[in-house]
Symmetry: D2
Subunit: 355 residues, 4 copies
C-alpha cells in the first residue's frame, strides 16, 4: 500500500494510481481524515515498492503480505481515525461503535400478518434492524423453501412486506441474497444485503453484491478458517465497498456421538478477528446453537467476547414457525437478552477505558 | 414411493401421478425395464400410503424416510436392472461400469497451445475425458482467476478451444460451472457440467444445471457429511436428471500443526456411499492431496476403495502452471497411474465375482 | 435407577442393593435430604425393573438409557436439593454456587521463588485456588518437561512448595496427575486433583484418581464430543466420587490456513452440559486460546456463557516463563479479569431470578 | 545431528557424546553399515554446531529443526542402508519390506476356546501375527471391559492363552498396553506391545514401553495431526528404541448428520508419512470404519496407498463377539482380503521399480 503525505495533491494521488495501473493492478483509494492511503488490488509480488516510495506526495510504500490487504488492521490504521474499528451507518443505526446492535425477526417470512406481528414485537424488545428470509433453500429438497421459491412474484410480495414493516416500525431491513440472479431485485428493497455462510466462497456473488454499494452482512462459512473468512471479505472490499459487517455463526462440530449444539460457536474468533481487521463483527447464536434454551447465555457470551451486535431469530410462537422453530425465541425473551447484553457491553467499555 | 405392477397401464400411472399432485407434491416417474416406480417429491409425512396401495396398477406403496429418496439404493433397486449402480453414458464412454474412467487435463486453461498439448498427452496416456477450467476463482482476490474472468469473450474463446481439443483427440469434455449466470453458456459447449465442492450447497445452481439434462459431475463439499452430500445430489435428481457422477475430493483436515495434505481424502466414503445410492462415484486425488508426489498412491488407493474413476490434473510442465502447479502430474506419470489402476480394478472385479 | 420412598428403612435399602448385585451389577447409593436414590452401575439392559418397582420401600424404578447415568441431571434431580447443580466444597471455597471461582498460578512450577511470588500476586488479585504444574510432558520430546521429570525427589520438592504456598496465601491447591504412578504421591499433597485433556480417555487413571475421594478437576479432551466427555466423567462417579468439576478447554480447530487460536473454545458446550448434568463446569481460556491478548475477552465470555469459574495461567513476567509464556497474564491483568467477571456473573444471576 | 566419518574410531565417537552431554543433552548413537550418526536428544537451539564440525572423526554437524528428529527421514538416511524404510523383524516376520504383513485376531479375548479357534482361522487365512485384547476399557463405564478388568489373575490367564495360541499356530503375538502399571506384566508375554490411539499422548507410557526394547505398534490418535503423531513417536525413539510400527486407524469425522463410518481413515497420511520418516506404517480398517461391509475395500485401499500391512479384527462368528461385533470379519473373508492385498502390493512394487 502507498501512504500519501497529508499535504499530497489530487494530481500526486492520480499519478500514483497511474503507476499502479502500469503493473496491471487496480488501485483502492481510501481518503481518511488526515491522509490518503492507496491499496494495490492484485498480485503485488512483482511490484517495485522502492520506486513508489520516491514519487511526489508519497510518504511511505509498503508491501502487504496477507491475502486480506484492504480489510486488514494495518491498512485501516492508515486512513481510519482510530484505526481500531470501522463504524458502518445504516440510517440512524451505527454498527461497530460502543453500543451493541440487535438484528431480529423471523427466519422465514411466511405471511404479512406473521411478519408485522413479529416486527412489532422485536421493535418493542429493543431491536434495531429487522430481518426476514425470502429465499430459504434447505438441506432437504423435500422441505419448505421460502416464499421466494414461488418465483419473482412471491419474492417481490415478501420484499414489499419487509420494507413496509421496516418503515412502520422504524427499522432498517436485511435479507439474504442466495444467488447472483437475486442481487438486482433484492438490492432495490433492503438496507443491508446478507451473504449467508453457505455462499461465503461464491466470489461471483460477493462481487455482484459488493457493487450495489450497500452494507453487506457477511457470514463465516462453517468450514472456514479465519484467514479464509477475511480473504473472501476482501472480494467485497476490492470492489470499493468496505461497509462489511462480519458475522460468526458457528463452525462444524467435531467429536463423536450426539451433537448437543448444531454448530460450534467460535467466540474466540471474535477478538481474534478484531486484531486482524477494522471491520465490525457480530454473532448469530440462533443458527450456531440451534437451541432456544441456549440463546440467552450465548448472546451474553458473544457480547462479552466483544461482538458489536447479534442476529437473533424471533417469533411470537416458535413452535408454529415453518423453518428453524426449535431455535426461535419470543420477543419477550429477546427483550431480556437485549437488556442484559447492553449491561455487559457497558462493563466491557468501561473496563477497556481503564486499560 | 409407489411401485407399479409390471402390467400397469399408462392410464394407471397417470392416475397415481394425479393423486400425488393432490397432496401438493410432484411425481418422479422412473421407467425401468421390468416395472415403473414413482417417487414423491416433497414432504411426504402427511401422505396416506395405504390409500395409494389400493389404487389400480399399484403393487406397493412405501414411505421413504431419508432426505435422499430419488438417489437412494432402495429407490434405484426398483427400476434399475441390477439396482447396484447406474451406468452413465457420455458419448461412447460409460461411467459406473466395471472399467474405471479417467478424466484429465489442466486445472486452468491458459492458452490454446497449452490446452492442445496437454489434451494430446492425456489422450495418449489413456484418459477418457478432457477437463479444463475456465472460471477459476481463488481464495485470494489478488490471484489469477482463469480466462473466464476476462468476461464473456474470454470464456467463449476458452470454451471453443476446449470443444475443439475434445473433438480432435476424441474425448468428451467437462468444465466447472461457478454460478447460475454461466449455466446457459457452458451447457452449449460441454458434455459434462461440473459443480465444484464450494458450490455443493448452492441449490439454485444445482437446479439450473440439472435442467440442462446433461450429465453432472457433483463434488462433495469439504465440510459436508455423506448424508448432506446425497441430500444435495437429490436437488439434481428432483429435476428429473439422474445422470449424476459423485466425486470425493477431500474434506477439511483436523489436527494441530502443519498439514501434510491439503485436504483429507475420505476414501471410506466411497464404499459407504455405494451402499446408499446407485449413483457412480469417482475421486479427485489432485485437489485432495495438493501434492504431486502422492498422486500415484492415492489414485491406486481410490480405485482399490471402489471408485468408478478418477479426475487428475495434468500438465506437460507442472512448474509453469498458473494454478495448482504443485499438484499436477505429467502425461507420462498419468499413463503409469492409469495402467496400475486398471490392473487393480480388474483384481477387484474378479474378487467380487467370487464373493 | 431406584428411587426409594422417603420413609424407606435401611433394611429396605440394603435389600434393593442385594437384588442389584444378583444381576452382577454394582449399586451407587445416593442419600439426599428427602430421599435415597440407588443407581445401577453396569449394563442394565437385562434388568427387570418391574420386579424392583414392587420391592418394599421402593417408590419408583426407572431405566436410564444414557451412557452417563450417575452424573445425569435426571439422576441428580432425585437426590440433590434443587437438582440444578452440585456445590463442591474445597476448604471454604464453594464451586458451583452463584459466585464464580478463579483458579490461577503458573503453568509449570520452576522454582520456589517463582511460585511464591506468583501465589502472592494471584491471591491479591482475588483468586481462590492456586494451580502449579509439576509434570509437564510436552509435544516435543526435546523440550522442558517440568520439575517432576527429575524423578520423585524433584516432584516432592515442588509439591512441598505448592502446599506451603497454599497455606501461606490461604488457597487450596491443585495440580495435574499425568499417570497412575503419580496418584498416591500427588493425592497426599493437593486439595484437588486435575486430570488433563490428554488423559480424559484413560479409564485406569480416572478410576485410581476417583478412589482418592478428593475433588477432581476433569478436563474435556480436545477431540471429545459432549456425550463422550460426560461418559468418561461417569468413570469417576461409579467409584462413588461425585465431586467432579468439569472443565472446557477448547477443541481441535478446523478450517484451512493459519490458526489464530490454539484450540476452539466451545463455550456453547457450557450451558449445553448444564442441561445434561448437575456437575459444575468451568473454563480454561489460557490453553484454549494460547494468546495472552484474548484472555480478558474470553474470560468474560465464558462467565457470560454460565461457567462456574475459570482457570487462568498467571505469571509476574510472562516472557520468562519456560512453558506457555505466550498465554500467561500478569496478576494485575488477572485482577481486572476477576472484577469484570464477577459483575457479569451478578448480572446473570439476577436475570435468572427474574425468569 | 553429527555424522561421523566412516573411519571414525570408537574414541572419537565417545568424545562427541561427551561434548553433547556438556550441553545437558543426551546422545542417540546409531551405527549404520557405512557410518555412525549421533542424534542430539533435547533442545538443541543453543548448541554451537560449528564447534562439533571440527572435532576429530566428524564429517558433518547439522541442526535438525523438526520436533521429530530421530525418526525423521533425514536422520534415517544417514545410517540406514537405503534410508527409505526400516525393516523391523519379529521372529521370522519382517515388517516394512516389500511383502505386506497381516495382524489378525479378536478384538477382546473372551475365552481360551474362542481365542484358539480364531487363531487357527486367521493362520489358515494367511495372517502373520496374532492379536487379542486383554484390557478393553470402553467409552461407557457400564460395558464389558475385557478379561484384564478381573485383576492381575484374569490378565495373566488371558496372556498365557495368547502366548500358547501364538506358539501352537506359529505367530508372534501382540496386545495393547493401557497404562504404565501393565507394562512389566505384558512385556513378559508378548512379542509386540501396542500403544492405542487414546494413549498416543501419554508420554510416560510411551517411555516405559519403549524401555522394554521390544517392537512397539504405535497408533495415531484420532485427533492428531501428522506432525504430532511423529513427535510422539519420537518419545519412543529417544529411549533408544526405533522398532516402531506406526498405525493409521482413522481420525475424527467432520460434517453434520449421521456418520456412515466410525472414523475417517486418512489414507493419504500413509504416503505422506513415508516421505517424513523411515518407520513402517500399517493401517487398521476395522476400527477406522467400524463396518464389516467396508473392510474388504478399505484393506485393498490401504495397501494401494502404500501401507506395509494391516491389522484386522477377526471372529468366526462376528455377531456373538462381546466387543466391536459389527466390525469383525470371518477368517474366510480375511483370506480373500489377504489374497487380493498381496496382488495389489506386488503391482505397486513392480510399478515402483519401473519409476
Amino acid at each position: 500500500m502507498i501512504i500519501m503525505k497529508s499535504e499530497a495533491t489530487k494530481e500526486e494521488i492520480t499519478d500514483v494510481v497511474k503507476e499502479i495501473k502500469k503493473y496491471g493492478l487496480k488501485a483502492d483509494v481510501s481518503r481518511g481524515e488526515y491522509r490518503t492511503v492507496i491499496g494495490l488490488v492484485g498480485d503485488e509480488s512483482k511490484v517495485d515498492f522502492s520506486h513508489f516510495a520516491v514519487l511526489p506526495g508519497v510518504k511511505e510504500a509498503v508491501r502487504v503480505e496477507t491475502p486480506y490487504k484492504l480489510v486488514s488492521k494495518e491498512y485501516g490504521k492508515r486512513f481510519e481515525d482510530e484505526g481500531e474499528s470501522r463504524i458502518i451507518s445504516v440510517g440512524e443505526i451505527e454498527i461497530g461503535g460502543d453500543e451493541p446492535i440487535f438484528i431480529a425477526g423471523p427466519c422465514a417470512i411466511e405471511s404479512k400478518q406473521q411478519l408485522f406481528r413479529i416486527a412489532e414485537g422485536v421493535k418493542k424488545a429493543g431491536a434495531h434492524i429487522l430481518r426476514g428470509g425470502i429465499f430459504k433453500p434447505r438441506s432437504s429438497a423435500h422441505s419448505f423453501q421460502g416464499l421466494g421459491a414461488n418465483g419473482r412474484e412471491g419474492a417481490e410480495e415478501a420484499l414489499n412486506w419487509l420494507c413496509e414493516a421496516g418503515k412502520q416500525f422504524e427499522m432498517p431491513v436485511i435479507t439474504e441474497v442466495r444467488g447472483e440472479n437475486q442481487v438486482d431485485l433484492i438490492s432495490e428493497y433492503v438496507d443491508i444485503m446478507q451473504i449467508g455462510a453457505r455462499n461465503m466462497y461464491d466470489q461471483d456473488l460477493l462481487t455482484s453484491v459488493a457493487r450495489k454499494k450497500k452494507p453487506v452482512l457477511f457470514k463465516r462459512h462453517f468450514g472456514a478458517g479465519i484467514e479464509e473468512f477475511l480473504s473472501f471479505a476482501e472480494y467485497i472490499a476490492v470492489e470499493g465497498n468496505k461497509d462489511i459487517i462480519l458475522c460468526e455463526r458457528g463452525i462444524i462440530p467435531i467429536g463423536k456421538g450426539k451433537n448437543f449444539t448444531r454448530y460450534t460457536l467460535d467466540l474466540a474468533a471474535i477478538p481474534a478477528i478484531q486484531k486482524e481487521t477494522y471491520l465490525p463483527i457480530i454473532a448469530d447464536p440462533s443458527h450456531a446453537t440451534g437451541r432456544r434454551d441456549l440463546i440467552f447465555n450465548m448472546s451474553c457470551s458473544a457480547i462479552a467476547a466483544g461482538a458489536s451486535g447479534l442476529m437473533v431469530e424471533t417469533h411470537y410462537n416458535p413452535v408454529e414457525a415453518m423453518v428453524d422453530s426449535q431455535q426461535m425465541i419470543t420477543p419477550d425473551e429477546l427483550k431480556e437478552v437485549i437488556e442484559v447484553c447492553r449491561k455487559i457491553s457497558r462493563l466491557l467499555v468501561s473496563a477497556k477505558k481503564k486499560m
